[in-house]
Symmetry: C2
Subunit: 492 residues, 2 copies
């Protein structure tokens, strides 16, 4: 097979995939209740076409052959990604794949209902089926040296094994748990710097401007509302994210904007030459999260960022907040129950809970019915608080209902990579000064150059190596957290 | 081929078609400027799959065979519709079909730009190509006795030939043109009953309630904004329409709601047993328009409709309008330039202009470059006014840029059918009384029973015959208009 022919097939697969993306976007943001089932049926049918095209024997043969040829870096990466995708998919029988897609379509609403009604039993059986399929599928593709959980981890973060992640999370646990304890003992409790509510429409207007301020291009993007913020997209020229406006919790939408904006700018920054190829997306979920976390935490929670635009915020919301009070509040650390609302310090502890439970599930060390109890115990151990109910505990996240086991660690990996990138950036740019001047373009340009444009041509470690001659190193992250929180809570 | 197998293929065609519908919906309501080209490419690819599946030789053979068998009314209608679709499509070579789709994707934005910049020349060449393709395709499928324009008419309104429509429009012209002249001479000029503006968000909220009041089900529907109101849908359980809120023209959105709501209730009322078959949609564009026009004009412009809810409208908009002033204003007749804003009386004259021009184009009696001049002359002849520029003249409608020649007559046919339906309904229901009581359910039930549930199992005339033992008869419409406007303008 010629490379040209492969690219044509790749494009067809990409175009089919985009219709599935569009349908998901619609499902989350627009489809009325009555239409959910019908949309599920549409997606199931198209998934079948997608599966057939992605596992076509002619494609398989072409990939085998091309993977032995001398190709450009880009073409070799395309062949590598398509081959990995095909090898994984082709090992799963089509009927099992489609049966699983059907379960997933149904389970999302089961989970939503179980969460709404705070009833784990309503979701338990679906979750059992999902776990069982995930384990079965992982079994199809595992190699001798890998454990089952390694296989699912690898889908989101190539090369990050259980062994590596255990080390990473062990470091975090050893550093963050005692740090949090000290903060809790400090007696300092930073208060909300505003009272009252701000209308969702007013917030929406301001947040769209904020997204543009950090560099998200609305001519090539959409911002809409949904229950939970998320980012998706059809191409670099059509990137979409959502937000949720709580009238009495203004910082929620603000940091969602900066977070999802970070994801969005990654997608918008991928080189157009990669469009409709197997390297068009982000390098990995961890690298994707590094971009959102970089903007949310390292940029968006810094005083230099808010300094030039703080009066705009006060004006837009009709408030008279003090900048220092605002900074203390948005950076405060406290043990809390909900991951998506967790602060920068405790966030990784929430991830760790999920990581450890997923590992236990895949190692047959725990049954699905025992998850709520184990969850609550871990929250107690890591965060020191009690979980009042499953809706605020084991049922809080959507991921498992979508079969996304192995995904959660990416959030913590991303946070760590974000600190590493900041270290590299500061060697080239005076970041504080740029922020104070309201010049965010050079920051985006740095990320476009080192990360965004490459899509998934390089792996996480290859990207980091190219940027700073160093592989993934969580020490930057730990050092950053320790310095920041020691200062904020006067711990030295 | 077994009927069961045919239904399976039909379902696959339907599911592919729904993705195209979803993409169009997104294109009109959500896709950012940068993403339009990419979405066009997605749609082009899926159109290819749709074409291939719809013209599959195995399907063709199966339809030939099944069309000779003894089938239920429903199955026979499915076979008939699929066969008609396949016969038409299969006569067009795939490369020409796809080339035409590409032109259509591009021409919509060309038209929009030409309209925005009031420059017919920018759109002229694309329109020439479209007309030439439409004529070529019509040539492929015409039979000996039909003229080219009959072929395109037949796509939207089966059995309505040029001969029949000439008769219909001749009747309208003879009755309405003199009636309008008398109104213009009466000296009566009903004035707008409110001043100032109402915020779009406030209007949107009220209009959603109004849609529910007439019977549109928001659990199985979506109402969104777009430049021009339109209705579409993925199934009876997912029907979507748009609106446009002008802050100083409150009646615009109100009547769009009632109009699109009429279309929407038709789609929502189709029997679920017909889902994903070739008879799931409306019977014809004319019957579809009969439902929207029925609600918009015969229900929505009646005093009994507004009587029980008029104070709600005043309250919602913070106004103190007088009901009689409102009624006079929303029913006034006056010569105007824009079809979509035309009143009930002059609307058909706008249609007639387009009908006559389309006929001339397909009979080679006029060239595309001469359309603006011919347009302006006809406006002068029928409505007695001058067209100041092409944006308000020949460029005003989207239809031609989408290749929808032969569509316009459906609007007038629909208006006529609406009056015919009202005559039938009044034999069974005390419509005035129901409206005064705010009981719109019985009205919808009547339409569900006689029209909606049947999808496109029956043709327009079959539906009318089943309902009232009479075929299409425009005399009801003419009588209604004469009575209404004679009274409103004291012409007797």
């Amino acid at each position: 097979m010629e490379m040209k022919e492969l690219l044509k097939i790749g494009k067809e697969i990409s175009l089919l995939g985009k219709f599935l993306t569009l349908a998901s976007w619609d499902q989350e943001t627009e489809t009325p209740e009555g239409g959910q089932e019908g949309l599920g049926e549409m997606m199931e049918y198209l998934s079948g076409l997608y599966y057939a095209k992605s596992t076509d024997p002619v494609l398989k043969e072409g990939l085998e052959q091309l993977s032995k040829e001398e190709l450009s870096v880009k073409d070799a990466a395309i062949v590598r990604n398509m081959k990995e995708g095909l090898d994984r998919m082709a090992k799963i029988p089509q009927d099992e794949y489609l049966a699983y897609q059907r379960i997933l379509t149904r389970s999302q609403s089961l989970w939503a209902k179980a969460k709404r009604e705070n009833n784990f039993d309503m979701f338990k059986d679906a979750l059992k089926e999902i776990v069982s399929y995930e384990k079965k599928f992982a079994g199809y593709t595992r190699t001798d040296e890998a454990c089952l959980y390694d296989v699912v981890l690898n889908q989101y973060e190539k090369g990050f094994t259980t062994a590596k992640l255990n080390e990473f999370f062990c470091l975090l646990k050893n550093e963050i748990v005692p740090l949090l304890k000290k903060i809790q003992e400090s007696g300092i409790d930073y208060q909300k710097p505003y009272e009252g509510t701000v209308d969702a429409d007013v917030q929406e207007k301001y947040n769209k401007k904020l997204a543009e301020y950090i560099g998200f291009d609305l001519n090539r993007g959409v911002i809409k509302r949904s229950e939970h913020p998320f980012t998706t997209g059809l191409s670099a020229d059509d990137v979409r994210f959502t937000n949720h406006y709580y009238e009495d919790k203004l910082e929620s939408a603000i940091f969602s904007t900066i977070h999802e904006g970070g994801h969005g700018m990654y997608e918008q920054g991928v080189s157009k030459e990669l469009e409709d190829t197997a390297v068009a997306g982000g390098a990995s979920m961890g690298v994707h999260e590094s971009q959102s976390r970089f903007y949310e935490n390292l940029i968006g929670r810094s005083k230099s960022f808010w300094n030039p635009i703080f009066s705009d915020l006060n004006d837009a919301y009709g408030l008279k907040m003090n900048l220092d009070d605002f900074m203390n509040y948005i950076n405060r650390a406290e043990a809390s129950l909900i991951r998506t609302e967790a602060d920068e310090l405790t966030y990784s502890l929430h991830i760790m809970i999920r990581y450890e439970l997923e590992q236990m599930l895949f190692n047959d060390e725990i049954e699905v019915e025992d998850l709520p109890c184990a969850w609550n115990q871990k929250v107690k151990d890591f965060l020191g608080i009690d979980v009042p109910n499953d809706a605020m505990g084991v049922l809080q996240d959507v991921h498992w209902s979508g079969g996304m086991f192995g995904y959660f660690p990416s959030y913590a990996i991303g946070s760590a990579i974000a600190s590493q990138i900041m270290a590299a950036m500061k060697k080239e740019l005076d970041v504080e000064d740029l922020l104070m001047k309201g010049d965010l373009k050079q920051i985006k340009d740095f990320l476009d150059y080192h990360i965004h444009q490459h899509g998934s041509i390089y792996t996480t470690n290859e990207l980091l190596n190219k940027m700073m001659n160093e592989e993934f190193n969580p020490q930057y992250y730990v050092d950053y957290l320790k310095e920041k929180y020691t200062k904020l809570y006067h711990l030295d």
